[in-house]
């Protein structure tokens, strides 16, 4: 029996074989390559072609960029150094020395160089002020900074006496106080109107004298920097950030206005949006810089940069309004009816039910409007403001650097890319965080 068994059992494996690696072609990088790049003869050809194109581009650009010359005083000197290094008529290399010489102008314009800490600090304050709005994980205490940040940043950038921004800030406090203590006496509507009117009157007539009186009594301030000295990437950031921060609330209000049943509010919003959106931004900028000069009484010095910020804000708020309206229209009718059935009034239903959903839908659109707005700030070059592009022209106009071309544009492009790409990443983060559907 045992023999027959042993006979029959000779075909049975008694111990497991050691595990073997999968075939080389079915694992790791090779498998990935085979599946993704070389899965058929057509794809193989395309892959090889693509690799060749990428190689060809890099082979031309990388030596030019990496071999670049960083220390020279002029383009001529750059060329001399290059000829020494690589021989006469050798390779073309970048002349990064122009950036070493002029980076501060591309970034800060004519801003006094002993005050560069001020725009940098402003940027940090801005970051700290928006962090609690953008990220839930940041301490809520920073929210206290957020409403104060515009005044701090204004004071840091433009300098001068500290009482000016404080006097303006007092106007907002005044408006709040009027509303808070007026509401029980004259009712909600009256208090709202008073809270708008009183600060405006205060700003028009009282704020100026109070600020100048206080500053002569107690002169606290830093060196004042006029708007003319703003330039370079800092100008783009100031216009861009001011435009972005101001246009979002304005755009939401316009979107709600366009959905409104109130005749005048509705028509006003529609006309505003269509007129602003129907005309190119460059025309609005020319209006701001040229036409207004004729309309304003001679001698009024209405800051050009402020005019540009206002125009850019109005322009992008019209776009934001349409993006948000898209979000509002995408919500099912039931959401509006549900909010009504809970007994919420208009503002409550908007704030608690409608807008959170509508804005979530609109995030990609809003962020691409912002990115567009930020890049459109380069258009101010046409009205003589020296943004990075404007400065690239001025730098080329010096005898030292006339003839430099790509180096400046690469630097400017890199700065813009960093800003726009981080905005885009943030919007993707926000979309992931707010996703409520179940997958």
């Amino acid at each position: 029996m045992s023999e027959t068994h042993s006979h029959s059992a000779s075909y049975v494996r008694r111990e497991m074989l050691p595990q073997q690696d999968p075939p080389a072609l079915q694992t790791g990088a090779v498998k990935w390559l085979r599946e993704n790049l070389f899965s058929g003869w057509l794809n193989t050809i395309l892959t090889i072609l693509s690799i060749f194109v990428v190689y060809w581009v890099l082979a031309h650009i990388l030596p030019w960029m990496l071999g670049g010359i960083w220390t020279a005083d002029s383009l001529t000197e750059c060329r001399e150094i290059r000829d020494q290094l690589y021989g006469e008529g050798g390779r073309e290399v970048a002349c990064w020395a122009v950036l070493v010489d002029r980076w501060h102008q591309l970034l800060f314009g004519f801003y006094p160089d002993d005050s560069y800490w001020r725009p940098i600090l402003s940027l940090i304050v801005f970051g700290a002020a928006v962090a609690p709005v953008l990220y839930e994980s940041v301490s809520r205490k920073l929210l206290l900074l957020t409403p104060l940040a515009p005044f701090i940043i204004f004071w840091l950038l433009w300098g001068g006496t500290i009482w000016g921004p404080l006097a303006v800030l007092a106007g907002f406090v005044l408006g709040w106080a009027v509303f808070r203590f007026g509401e029980p006496v004259i009712g909600s509507l009256g208090a709202t109107l008073a809270a708008i009117l009183v600060p405006i009157l205060y700003w028009l007539f009282a704020a100026g004298p109070i600020a100048s009186g206080l500053s002569s009594a107690l002169p606290i301030g830093i060196e004042s920097v006029p708007s003319d000295d703003f330039g370079g990437f800092m100008l783009a950031l100031v216009i861009g950030i001011a435009g972005i921060v101001l246009s979002l609330p304005l755009g939401i209000v316009l979107a709600l206005g366009r959905q409104s049943d109130l005749f005048i509010v509705n028509k006003f919003s529609v006309i505003f949006i269509e007129v602003i959106r129907g005309v190119p931004l460059i025309v609005w900028l020319f209006t701001a810089s040229l036409l207004l000069n004729y309309f304003l009484p001679p001698g009024t010095n209405f800051d050009l940069m402020l005019r540009v910020i206002i125009m850019v804000t109005l322009f992008s708020s019209a776009y934001i309004a349409e993006v948000v309206r898209g979000g509002l229209a995408a919500l099912p009718r039931g959401q509006y009816e549900g909010a009504d059935s809970l007994g919420l009034d208009y503002w409550q239903s908007m704030r608690l039910v409608i807008l959170p959903q509508a804005l979530k839908i609109s995030i990609p659109g809003i962020v691409s409007t912002f990115i567009g707005l930020f890049k459109d700030t380069t258009l101010v070059v046409f009205i003589g403001l020296l943004d990075p592009i404007g400065f690239s022209n001025s730098i080329r106009a010096s005898t030292d650097w006339n003839g430099v071309y790509w180096e400046l544009f690469i630097f400017i492009g890199l700065c813009f890319f960093i800003c726009c790409f981080s905005m885009s990443r943030y919007s993707q983060f926000l979309e992931r965080k707010l996703r409520t559907d179940h997958r």
């Binding site: 004519f110 046409f382 003589g384 020296l386 022209n393 005898t399 003839g403």
Partner: protein, 340 residues
């Protein structure tokens, strides 16, 4: 003693009265503001550009500084306002700037229709052509059928059309926006010919790797007298700018330089120098300026020749020769009316 104080007061009062009569609205505005607002280009090689420390430099900038020196005795009391081709005239008309020194061509319509006053000419320019030497062209008359890089929206575009039409030739325009772009296109061979003002051609050619591979053709097809301008309606202010420019030109003719002006201001044998530099007559106060206004101008920026050599002359990379911009005594067109 008492008497001399009395006379002194009288003279001072008389001077003040005389000055007040000639005082212009723009001048008093500039003086109360404490600096001059001068419109310049956003950047043109040799004529106006900020340097690495943010100070404006150039030939046109020199004119602004000269006016500031005349008014304040301080060539740094200028706020430079960069203007583009589109914004320059509005900036001047609306009072945003007190004067423009922005290589602007003096034309009939700008002078009359736009209501500006060109106070003189600080650079005689003209439109020329540049071609690669390899093209083998030696005259603009051989350019039939050429592709031409041309900045859009400028007088050069119209001049070009006129030139080719009047010579029965055809051309193909390659429109470009800025001079820098033109350089790239021209070097890349996108066009056979690049045309702009001769000074611009020289500046552009100087930046090329191998300038000798390109030639500027001898023909100049237009007159481009460039000069500073002010608004109509304030002739006293116009006089100040005009005679500041004339001081620069006359100083070169009379041999006054920034080096010797202080010495000559002590008084010389030449009555015209004395009148100009204020040791004779009351020429400064007639303009509403100080007696030593011209001394300040020359001490601050030098005479016309010095300004030229410093910014665009043959010693600079741009290397322009004086040509039409030489003194009339040297066969050029610079000719200042006398200080009398």
């Amino acid at each position: 003693m008492k008497k001399s104080v009395f006379y002194g007061t009288l003279v001072a009062a008389g001077l003040a009265g005389g000055a007040a009569l000639a005082q212009s609205a723009t001048l008093s505005e500039v003086q109360s503001r404490g600096h001059l607002n001068c419109g310049v280009t956003t950047g043109l090689v040799g004529f106006a550009a900020p340097n690495a420390s943010g100070e404006w430099e150039g030939f046109d900038v020199g004119v602004c500084r000269a006016v500031a020196a005349a008014v304040f005795g301080d060539a740094t009391a200028v706020e430079f306002v960069p203007t583009t081709g589109q914004t320059r005239f509005t900036a001047l008309a609306s009072g945003e700037v007190d004067m423009l020194a922005r290589n602007t061509t003096w034309t009939f319509s700008r002078d009359v229709d736009l209501a500006f006053e060109f106070v003189g000419i600080n650079y005689y320019d003209g439109q020329g052509f540049m071609v690669p030497r390899a093209l083998g062209v030696s005259s603009a008359m051989e350019l039939d059928g050429a592709t031409v890089c041309i900045q859009t929206g400028t007088t050069t575009e119209l001049n070009l059309a006129d030139f080719f039409a009047s010579n029965n030739m055809s051309y193909e325009p390659v429109p470009i926006e800025t001079n820098a772009e033109a350089q790239q296109q021209f070097l890349a061979g996108a066009c056979d010919v690049y045309t702009t003002d001769a000074s611009g051609l020289a500046a552009t050619r100087a930046t090329f790797e191998d300038p000798s591979a390109y030639v500027v053709l001898p023909e100049i097809i237009s007159k481009e007298p460039l000069g500073p301008l002010v608004r109509h309606g304030d002739n006293e202010w116009g006089d100040i700018v005009r005679w500041t420019l004339n001081v620069l030109i006359a100083a070169e003719e009379l041999g006054i330089t920034s080096a010797n002006v202080m010495e000559l201001a002590q008084g010389t044998d030449n009555p015209e120098i004395n009148r100009m530099l204020g040791t004779e007559g009351e020429y400064g106060p007639m303009l509403g300026l100080s007696q030593d206004w011209a001394v300040n101008v020359i001490a601050a920026v030098g005479n016309y020749g010095e300004l030229f050599e410093q910014n665009i002359g043959e010693a600079t990379p741009i290397g322009l020769s004086r040509g039409l911009n030489a003194q009339w005594t040297d066969g050029g067109l610079l000719y200042s009316p006398p200080f009398r």
